[in-house]
């Protein structure tokens, strides 16, 4: 599959950090950065832009804030073709925390919002556009939004100046036909916008749903090394790049980081295809109950989790 407009955004550090409060070593973040550069990845999302008022430094690492001094420690002047992105959550960032783009190593701000926050998301996204950034809005948890509310949000987004909108399968609950229908809807209501896909792997469908997005014309593709990310994790970058036929993509640099960092990390962080995440995905539920279960002392008791989630009804 080759289409020159396709861009790959690796969010290993940003999404993976949801599992360890961004307590990554500098070595890890540097190795991910260097591998992204060497493998031809287009964007690296290195963390969140967040307000210091919203989170404590005692609990979360540097990549929850993405201050310039921290970025510079990893990427220097970033004299590479790799662009750097950070995510901003509505309500967890003050507009004044965002520097003018010319004063920042960041190239892109991605605004994450629920459908009911669309107006605020557009305001913040256009604020970032005006500061000189590339900007996207990532509309989360659409699998539980009623049709009319979603369409209203899409109409508002279509009128905004924001060029790129993401279809996000927050709960990892969707399969190909649902992706097809939603991309059709996004294209119908937002003609001319670039579309992106951010898929979760609860039912082992993150990569295939990303492929469906590609086939339907989505050009911004999110992925992470070995699929690391919240809960079941994401579309794996290494398999996505091996599928895309653009010769600029190489997987060897990523394999090196996987064997040196991600495999050892699996001993401490339970991301991937675990039954609690599969169950919340199949039930179209937020993964928070599965995350809580996996952090408890009965994490391998899948039957008990299933009974809790279904109230003893059958799935």
């Amino acid at each position: 599959m080759f289409r020159k407009e396709i861009k790959v955004l690796d969010c290993t550090v940003r999404d993976g950090g949801l599992m360890n409060n961004w307590q990554f070593t500098d070595d890890f973040v540097k190795d991910v950065y260097n591998a992204c550069v060497a493998s031809g990845v287009d964007y690296m999302e290195i963390g969140y832009k967040s307000s210091e008022k919203a989170f404590s430094r005692d609990e979360v690492g540097a990549w929850k804030f993405c201050e310039e001094k921290d970025l510079r420690r990893i990427v220097g002047d970033n004299n590479t073709s790799l662009k750097l992105a950070a995510m901003a959550d509505i309500g967890r960032i003050e507009p004044e925390d965002i520097l003018p783009a010319e004063d920042s190593l960041l190239d892109m701000i991605r605004v994450a919002a629920y459908v009911h926050q669309t107006d605020k998301a557009i305001w913040l996204a256009e604020h970032c556009l005006d500061k000189g950034y590339e900007v996207t809005i990532n509309l989360m948890a659409v699998s539980t939004v009623i049709e009319r509310d979603l369409e209203e949000a899409l109409i508002d987004l279509s009128k905004s100046r924001v060029p790129t909108i993401y279809l996000v399968d927050s709960f990892g609950s969707m399969y190909c036909e649902q992706i097809e229908d939603l991309v059709d809807k996004y294209q119908k209501f937002m003609p001319g916008k670039t579309l992106g896909v951010h898929m979760h792997n609860n039912m082992q469908l993150a990569f295939s749903n990303t492929i469906t997005g590609i086939i339907k014309g989505c050009n911004m593709l999110d992925s992470t090394f070995l699929g690391i990310g919240r809960g079941a994790g994401n579309c794996p970058t290494e398999v996505l790049l091996s599928f895309l036929k653009n010769p600029k993509f190489k997987i060897k640099p990523i394999l090196k980081v996987i064997q040196e960092h991600l495999i050892p990390m699996q001993k401490d962080i339970d991301w991937g295809y675990f039954m609690p995440y599969m169950i919340t995905g199949a039930l179209n539920q937020h993964p928070r109950s599965a995350l809580k279960w996996m952090a408890g002392d009965k994490k391998d008791n899948y039957v008990a989790f299933y009974e809790q989630m279904t109230d003893k009804n059958d799935l």
Copy 2:
């Protein structure tokens, strides 16, 4: 997704046994059997029918042979709605090793064959039909077969009395558009045959390719508990059943076996999404080189495996 013609065939013991020479405890096989019955699975493939001349009992367990006394020890008279299947490989079975169906606990024989063995497969399959079994032919490794040879095989199969033919992604190298094209071809060349899908998970596409098969009209679906199987393994039964909307399917009995048996088994058997299996899948290669690598002392050196497979060219 509900279609009353859909049948699920669980091949946990048969395909999983490729990873441990079928050295399963009776407890495990019984628990899989009981879970298949309780979860509404239609067929359980419990092993291979093989000739004692082809394999040594010192190396392989009972489920490489599926003798009646071994079957009976697990399933008694099998007074359930679950049907039992065994696979027969061309060249590794003598026709006289197959009892008349009325004298066997097996209900179905699945003949596995490469395209160049189609004539032999039809002969053996019709021999089993004449002995009273349900029969399928599973045409393997079609991702490396040239168009003309495949079409010739399909024409021969279409003329046979064998009612069910499987599309098998032996190398885990295919994605949805290839599955769609092949199912179209199978339907065009073999009108009236029931089609099945047996997918491998090298690129995390086994479940999604099975869904594509369902959408295209395939009605026999192979899967295994927690995806256990050779190399990267298979479509997981638990996620397949949670997707199919037939109320007869329950996943709780399978979750119990996963937590009691499959999770502990992961300590000894490396099936699933490991980089060597991903690489052979992406390269459309037989997994044997990956299996050999994973059995060696450098199994986590993915870069070295990648270099060996690509002769230092890039993927």
